[in-house]
Amino acid sequence: MAGPETAAGPRRGPGPDVHELSIANEIVAVAERTAGGLPVAVVRVKVGRLRQVVPEYLDFYFEAAARGTVCEGAAMEWERLPSLLRCDQCATEWDPAPAPARTEDELLVDFRCPGCRSGLHSVVSGDELLVESIDVEDPDPQQGRGPGPEAGRKASPAPGKGGG
């Protein structure tokens, strides 16, 4: 069978499936673009529960994907974000795929509004697959040589402050 059992349910273990490897490659590429050539120590990732990505496997494949890049040896820290929808009709908010209390319990997946049964909704949380931030090793912060020109294009760190 194609892929692993994911997102709404547990699955067996890293096997022939390479789904998380292709995602890990994309994560390494984002970190590389941001790092401006400096070695990366930490990559922080946010994964919503509605994604078919299992963060534990992302860990496993990240190491492989990072080999030979500035991310080699970096730690990946991931945060799982809860799934939450809001009904377009009546504004009820609900979790469409709550984690079963016990592994043997049936999955209670329901994307139809529990309030009015509408099928139209917006995702409040759970669709994320984000590289949130990275830590780079800056060899000489005193000279203000922070991350490269592309780095911090969205938010600049304050290089050199705070010691380390």
């Binding site: 789904h19 990275i134 760190p157």
Partner: protein, 229 residues
């Protein structure tokens, strides 16, 4: 050494998304409507395309074949006299499990976009990665065969949620498998209440006219074989 935190807040798949949007702009410029056809391996993507296209006279359809088993599927489809382009997925590093926007981009120069109105992209058989990687398609459809089990929508919610049409294929096998169409549709409805469904058997032909009509429009459906209208 000094450690500096740099905020990124980029989607991990943003780069793919940018290329997908460029592909879509190319398709729009050429007025080509693009369907991304996805399924688990062996659900019947190629067979259903053959059944639809064997009566596609007058329809300007092309196929981009991304399935990984050599060029077998492309060879089968080219017998139907539609332009077929085989995509070469990179066999190293995870390239075999899905098409990404860049692979489709590299195939665009080989596609006769001026000669077609509809492009069907047969994605690699997999229910996981194709759910994540957009390629520039207008419509996302999937095929689920009754041999796969009725709980698939609950196990691959992202995939089933991202498709507007789910074709339930191989219904000729229903007497032989433990699959309740009713329970499958109920599971699908829990994940994607808005999904449209068509039940088909590419073997017996049941539902094939509805499938062909959905793919090619009413003019192409139900036309007797060999008729020229």
């Amino acid at each position: 050494m000094h450690r500096t935190t740099v905020k990124v807040a980029d989607g991990a798949l943003d780069a793919n998304q940018t290329i997908a949007e460029a592909n879509r702009a190319d398709f729009d410029r050429a007025s080509v409507s693009v369907v991304n056809l996805m399924s688990a391996p062996g659900a019947g993507k190629t067979r259903l395309l053959e059944r639809a296209l064997e009566r596609a006279e007058g329809n300007r359809v092309g196929v981009l074949e991304g399935d990984v088993r050599g060029s077998l599927d492309a060879d089968r489809l080219s017998l139907l006299h539609v332009p077929v382009v085989q995509i070469n997925t990179d066999p190293a590093f995870g390239g075999e499990c899905h098409l990404d926007a860049n692979m489709v981009r590299s195939a665009i120069p080989d596609l006769p976009l001026d000669e077609i109105d509809l492009l069907v992209i047969e994605n690699v058989g997999n229910l996981v990665c194709p759910a994540e990687f957009r390629v520039g398609e207008h419509r996302r459809w999937m095929i689920s065969s009754v041999a796969e089990g009725e709980d698939k929508p609950l196990k691959y919610p992202l995939m089933f949620r991202s498709c507007e049409l789910v074709v339930v294929n191989k219904i000729d096998l229903l007497p032989h498998v433990d699959f309740s169409v009713e329970r499958f549709l109920a599971n699908l409805e829990r994940v994607n209440p808005e999904a449209e469904t068509i039940l088909t058997s590419a073997r017996t032909g049941e539902g094939i006219d509805a499938w062909r009509e959905r793919l090619l429009g009413p003019a192409a459906a139900g036309r007797p074989a060999g008729a020229s209208a």
